[in-house]
């Protein structure tokens, strides 16, 4: 393939001698692979390299080639190539074309620069305001173009110059729809990687914030950035994340979920082992705790690893609200997890096996309600849980304006009339409603889906063995969870293996001055987050003076 390319390229140049300029046949190399591109040097002749790039991009309609004459001494022929809607046109005009055409003449007269190569001179003078990367082969040249950069080719130079000029349309920074907060920053990630990185950089202005870039996807060549804070992140984990990312081979990466599926530890587990978030503050908090973030171009969801179970129970607002409130809120979430998982199963178990556990009036009411229902409780429960799933799915997928219709059909028709028609008991509907609401009380959508998925087998187990079946199911889930790891960190940490200091930020949260250490497994080297003795005290003239200096646990 490479030889054919070179031969055709050489043949083309041989032919060109005879053919007048402008009349040369278009160059069509056909599909090329990355390796072939990397081995293909840029020819020194301007016409040849322009035709090579044009050919490689299949004479794309949006590839703009402008041939210019640089006013240097002697005047040099150059070509500027870019893809029309990927570049920021004003920027291109103001900061690339204008200096090239106007300032080059001025700089050429500087004696110190006289002996230098024109390309170097350009980089050091006229184009000094931006990143300029020399491109020696076709891979670098086309990759730069497709990223939205501008390619500058000089006649007689075997190197091109990639000038950053990325622009074009994209979504502005908005408040994310998921993980909304009452108090806290409102900005969310967008689809553009460099915006996301800048959001992160603005939160963490440490020189130790490391970002490593790599490209994934043979076809899409998606840019993926690995971010961590040197000195805080566990080096072994960073190394492992890097290794897993580099191992990925796929044709396209369109969302960070693609990456997630390649790097998680147990692909068949219903539980998420990688945390995805749209909030820069959450990623920043993760980085500060020694986690590693993965940002994928084209996805507003950044990934943080390692992820542990307790992380999916918290919202970033937990750290902005006052501690006594957080204790309540997290407890509510924790309970709602079990409600979402178990409520239908407990209903089935109680009505089928353990009626004696219900207070007598309630048992009578249930029996009266069930009298007209033709199904056993388990069928009723499965039917209703399934109906709810359908409603929810339809609500998400339907065009927004139709959402109201769904809620009317769901609430009124199915809810109200199902009872009247004798398909379900009112209590069952209450249970389903509680389950649904409990599952919405959750900050993490992926954990919600895990509980919903597991609710079905729990109902079946409850139908088979009552409370014992539920216990059986819970133990099975527990056996699975204690074996699960995310990048080597046990999923149930800090509960199992129990780590008492880390419990300060788990089921509840303590004050910042009390959460003195970073999570111990993530940051083994640099544990201290808050130095001791920062508990605020009211000024007390007598006793208080003595207490102020005291260290709190």
């Amino acid at each position: 393939m490479l030889f054919r390319l070179l031969r055709r390229l050489a043949g083309g140049s041989r032919k060109r001698k005879g053919i007048p300029k402008g009349g040369q046949p278009p160059f069509h190399p056909g599909p090329v692979t990355e390796e072939e591109l990397a081995r293909l040097p840029l020819p020194a002749s301007l016409e040849q390299s322009v035709s090579l790039i044009q050919g490689l991009l299949g004479h794309a309609a949006d590839l703009i080639v402008r041939e210019v004459l640089l006013p240097s001494t002697p005047p040099a022929r150059a070509a500027i190539l870019f893809i029309e809607h990927l570049v920021d046109k004003d920027d291109l005009q103001q900061h690339i074309l204008k200096p090239l055409l106007l300032e080059v003449a001025a700089t050429a007269r500087v004696a110190a620069l006289a002996g230098r190569n024109l390309l170097t001179r350009l980089v050091e003078t006229a184009l000094s305001d931006r990143k300029a990367i020399p491109a020696a082969n076709a891979l670098q040249a086309t990759e730069g173009l497709l990223d939205g950069d501008t390619l500058l080719l000089l006649d007689g130079s075997p190197q091109g110059l990639i000038l950053t000029s990325r622009g074009g349309e994209g979504r502005a920074v908005e408040e994310p729809d998921t993980e909304s907060v009452v108090r806290g920053p409102r900005e969310g990630f967008t689809e553009r990687l460099h915006t996301n990185l800048s959001l992160l950089r603005r939160k963490i202005k440490s020189p130790n914030l490391r970002t490593e870039s790599l490209r994934l996807g043979r076809v899409t060549r998606t840019q993926v950035v690995l971010a961590y804070i040197e000195g805080l992140a566990n080096r072994r984990i960073v190394e492992e994340v890097r290794r897993r990312l580099q191992r990925i081979e796929i044709d396209g990466v369109l969302e960070s979920a693609y990456v997630e599926e390649f790097i998680e530890d147990s692909p068949f587990s219903p539980f998420p082992q990688v945390a995805a978030t749209e909030r820069p503050d959450r990623v920043a908090a993760g980085l500060l705790e020694g986690r590693v973030a993965i940002l994928v171009d084209g996805s507003p969801f950044a990934l943080t690893v390692p992820a542990v179970a307790s992380e999916f129970f918290l919202s970033s607002e937990d750290y902005y609200a006052r501690v006594p409130i957080v204790i309540l809120v997290r407890f509510v979430r924790f309970v709602s997890f079990f409600v979402a998982l178990l409520a239908p199963a407990v209903y089935v178990a109680l009505t089928t096996y353990h009626q004696e556990m219900l207070p007598t009036p309630l048992a009578m009411a249930i029996a009266a309600g069930r009298e007209g229902v033709p199904f056993p409780a388990v069928v009723e429960a499965l039917l209703m849980v399934f109906t709810f799933e359908v409603l929810r799915e339809a609500g998400v997928r339907m065009p927004r304006p139709l959402g109201q219709a769904i809620s009317i059909v769901g609430a009124l028709v199915i809810g109200e009339t199902a009872v009247q028609a004798g398909l379900a008991t009112p209590l069952m509907l209450i249970v389903i409603a509680i389950t649904a609401i409990a599952s919405f009380a959750f900050p993490s959508p992926s954990m919600v889906m895990a509980t919903r998925l597991l609710a079905f087998p729990m109902v079946l187990l409850a139908a088979m063995l009552g409370i014992f079946g539920i216990i059986w199911g819970l133990l099975a889930i527990l056996i699975h969870l204690v074996q699960l790891r995310s990048f080597g960190i046990p999923y149930l940490w800090p509960y199992a293996p129990l780590s008492l200091p880390d419990l300060r930020d788990s089921l509840s949260r303590l004050h910042w001055w009390w959460m003195r250490e970073r999570p111990s497994l993530m940051t083994p080297e640099n544990a201290e987050r808050v130095p001791p003795g920062q508990r605020p005290w009211p000024p007390r003239p007598h006793r208080g003076q003595k207490k102020r200096g005291e260290e709190r646990p």
């Binding site: 096996y353 556990m357 063995l465 149930l492 497994l521």
Partner: protein
């Protein structure tokens, strides 16, 4: 040592506590001792602490080996292998007993029509999944289950019983009316079951990060367990009276059915059953694990993981075959089990310990002088890394 996983001393404590709880709180144990059951439980607790001292002293000679291995070095290859196989049998047998009692608890109280095999089969399926990966999984499960089940909720159970005004402390009097005889008999029974079963932990001590911490964790577990044992057995007697409490199979269960606070909080026995099931599950897991490991090491197998299912199947079969019904099960526990298990929990460990002490180990200081030297080689050959990180296994799992 086939086990590669490592557990912390805290995990050992939870494992031992869950194991001891297993089904002690469920069974009727007061047929002989009647109202003096607390004294019997107290005596047995002291005996349990002594047993732990014996086991940890024995394990201290061989901090990285299980009895299946070091018995060979002490008694020679044929006898040592026989010891390993005996412990395999004992763990299998106790596991089968526990499995059967779980099934009886279910079928007598809740699922009258369900065959007992259903419970044996489903529970063993779970324990097999928990045992297969090695000791770390049961240890972490115990860490989650035990703090909730026995530590938090069982005291709540006592409080509820008190609040329901069903506790009659006069049932516990007169004190020691029958003399010391029945008390000693009861203590003898309690010593074998549950404390004597701690002998299984000889197979688990080598998996500790810091073997020297085994004694403290196990002693704490024994003390806490005896506290609960005293509390529960006395509660049963105080609520039901000495005669009825001895006559019921599952007196604690009857107490649970009697709890009633106002019109609302009634019939919580299913919840209590949930807690017991969880504790029994920990006990079963330990039994199956020890049986699996003892067999694999006695037979010099390359790994034990694949044996777990086979041992589980044997356990199911045995649990179905050993007893015809619940009364004979309870009678066996009360009368014969203390004698049957005596060689396993006392005589064999004592023999091994005596031989180890007589022989000493070349290159090590004489054991038994200080706390450190009772565990020769433990710290030296295995520099203890930061416990948490190792257990977290960043290093190992990556």
């Amino acid at each position: 040592m086939l086990e590669r996983g490592k557990i912390s001393a805290r995990q050992l404590f939870f494992l031992a506590l869950g194991f001891l709880h297993g089904n002690v709180a469920v069974f009727s144990r007061s047929t002989q001792t009647k109202e003096d059951i607390w004294a019997a439980a107290l005596l047995a607790g002291v005996g349990g602490v002594l047993l732990v001292y014996l086991y940890t002293a024995l394990a201290g000679y061989f901090p990285e080996e299980t009895p299946s291995r070091y018995a060979r070095r002490l008694l020679g290859r044929p006898l040592g292998t026989a010891v390993g196989l005996l412990y395999f049998w004992h763990a299998l047998y106790v596991g089968a007993l526990v499995l059967r009692s779980l099934g009886e608890l279910m079928t007598i109280n809740f699922y009258l029509q369900t065959p007992i095999l259903v419970f044996a089969l489903s529970t063993t399926l779970l324990t097999t999944f928990a045992v297969r990966p090695g000791i770390e999984v049961p240890a972490r499960m115990a860490e989650i289950i035990v703090p909730f089940a026995p530590l938090l909720l069982l005291p709540l159970f006592v409080l509820l019983a008190v609040a329901s005004r069903i506790v009659h402390l006069e049932n516990l009097t007169p004190v020691l009316v029958g003399g010391l005889g029945p008390v000693l008999k009861g203590a003898w029974s309690f010593l074998a079951f549950p404390y004597g079963e701690l002998v299984f932990f000889l197979f688990i001590f080598p998996a500790l990060h810091v073997p020297a911490k085994a004694r403290r964790a196990a002693v704490l577990a024994v003390i806490l367990c005896s506290f609960y044992l005293i509390l529960f057995q006395s509660l049963d007697v105080a609520v039901l009276g000495p005669e009825a409490s001895g006559a019921e199979f599952f007196p604690s269960f009857i107490v649970a059915t009697m709890i009633q606070i106002g019109e609302f909080l009634t019939r919580i026995e299913a919840l209590v059953m949930v807690l017991w099931t969880a504790a029994i599950f920990v006990k079963l897991t330990v039994c199956q694990y020890v049986a699996t490991l003892a067999l694999a090491e006695a037979l010099d197998l390359q790994d034990f993981h694949s044996l777990a299912a086979a041992v589980g199947a044997l356990m199911i079969a045995l649990s179905m075959l050993i007893f015809s019904d619940a009364p004979s099960l309870v009678a066996f526990f009360d009368r014969y089990f203390p004698f049957y298990s005596l060689p396993f929990y006392l005589l064999l460990p004592l023999l091994l310990w005596a031989v180890a002490k007589l022989r000493g180990r070349p290159g090590n200081p004489a054991p038994g002088q200080t706390e450190q030297t009772t565990h020769p080689g433990g710290e030296a050959t295995r520099p203890a890394p930061p416990e948490q990180l190792q257990e977290g296994g960043v290093s190992r799992a990556l």
